[in-house]
């Protein structure tokens, strides 16, 4: 078992359980059951240290860890096994499957999301580090009128994908690359997009797409 994602406090699997839900319900069992019965896991004080007993000592979380954060504009309150990655929480716990699991070791960039506006790889971000933060995934790019983000349209215009598996990570990294001011030339785009691998080799299209979208994003 490689995932340790948690169910949301409010939503538990319904009576029709498919294989995927069954797996999820098993991995989520500990935290879901405690979450259903009560508030997030209470914090215990650290055992007495040499220093004078400190009422403001570090917080010890035995078992699951309470977590509140905002994802794509929506507030979430959960309890997670501390081993859970942000990627597994998003994909398995919140059904936000846009971010992809490629290597699961921070080497491919397919799982790129934004945390507090900065791009990170969600596979190496422990979910517990999302507490109190704002997360944006590829799903959050959708606009009220259902039109595409300029970066999404640019990837279509420049045929910047073949199989598409790396594309959500490429697009989230690319949007951040523009906002950082690192999309100012093809060479700089290549350097600052080097953390996103494309095994189909659509790199020329990706660089061209980012160049196009960078102009539009600066204008818009």
């Amino acid at each position: 078992m490689t995932t340790h994602a948690s169910a949301e406090q409010s939503g538990s699997p319904g009576p029709q359980i498919d294989r995927r839900d069954f797996v999820l319900s098993v991995v989520a069992l500990a935290s879901a059951s405690s979450a259903a019965s009560a508030a997030p896991v209470p914090a215990a004080p650290v055992p007495a240290a040499p220093a004078p007993a400190a009422p403001d000592g570090p917080t010890v979380h035995a078992g699951s860890v309470p977590l509140t954060f905002v994802v794509n504009g929506q507030a979430r309150a959960l309890a997670v096994d501390p081993r859970t990655s942000a990627l597994d929480l998003l994909r398995e716990g919140l059904q936000l499957t846009g971010a992809k699991k490629g290597c699961d070791h921070g080497q491919c960039g397919a799982c790129t999301i934004h945390v507090d506006g900065r791009r990170v790889v969600s596979c190496l971000t422990p979910a517990l580090q999302l507490d109190g933060r704002t997360v944006d995934t590829i799903e959050g790019l959708q606009r009220p009128d259902s039109s595409l983000h300029p970066m999404q349209q640019a990837f279509i215009d420049h045929d910047a994908l073949q199989c598409g598996y790396c594309t959500p990570g490429q697009i989230m990294a690319a949007i951040a690359c523009v906002r950082e001011g690192n999309a100012t030339s093809p060479d700089r785009i290549r350097e600052y997009m080097s953390g996103n691998l494309c095994r189909c080799g659509a790199y020329n299209g990706i660089v061209a797409a980012i160049g196009q979208a960078a102009t539009q994003m600066r204008v818009g």
């Binding site: 790129t112 791009r119 990294a173």
Partner: protein, 330 residues
Amino acid sequence: MREFTLIRARSGAQALQALAAYPDARLMAGGTTLYDLMKLGVERPQHVIDINGVDEFKRVDTAANGELVLGSLARMSDVAADPRLVSDYPALSESLWRAASQQLRNMASLGGNVLQRTRCAYFRGGEPFACNKRVPGSGCAAQDGIDRGHALLGASRHCSATYHGDFAVALVAFDAVLDVLGPNGMRTMPFEALHRLPGDRPDLETTLAPGEIIARIRVPATPLGRASTYHKIRDRESYAFALASAAVALQMDGPVVREARIALGGVATRPWRAREAERALIGQRLNIETALAAGFAAFAGATPGHHNAFRIDLGARTVADALMIASTRA
């Protein structure tokens, strides 16, 4: 992944308190090394102390003319883009932005970066492979294995794992110091004294005492900063560990080298200051011949294994190219 108990510290004092209560605990900042190795089962802590809430380790002060004060929880991407580093210490900035990817640099802390563990495949590969660093006394699979990426300098028969960090290499070139918080308060140590040679205890990687935490890194103000570079040669142009790298800094009297700093990355078991190469250069007119001579002087003590000898020539030429690049900034 093994189960662990999470402890959240929100001050240096709380972090020390937690380390005292749980001596086996691991500190977690960005998590890009620790969490990765926990997924691989190479790191198996029962307690993890999240120190991301410790604001006192985040302060960065790079005001003009003074020393650089870099909090250990400052993020690599932020420090790489610091205007003072870009203009006055390009080697430091380059050593940061030429490492990893922007996503990882947004996550990784400076303290975690300098303490990152080796990428030796036999260390990371776990159980099937002997590794004295991972399981003391179990042997070293690299000795008769594929050692293309292993260290040419500082190795022992117990371990030839390369130290792959980049920033630490630039820090030793600039005589940086560390402020370390421990049970007895704060102490200051030379950065160069942080990493140990493997010797017969490759599992002991640093000179930090149990319960100590790196609070900040300080880099002295120096006239050598501006004419500096971090030159990194990889199997691909970006997003890879160094086959060979060099942090160099120069102070010139016209065409003559008055002072030089040379440190090597990707080729040694620890960040490697090449003082013999520096001595070879001082008082010389800098040109490609004297630069190459310094480069080869840096590798005079190299001990190649089975597949890595090509990196001696590559490393010497990396040093020479770095010197020529730095001289254009003098």
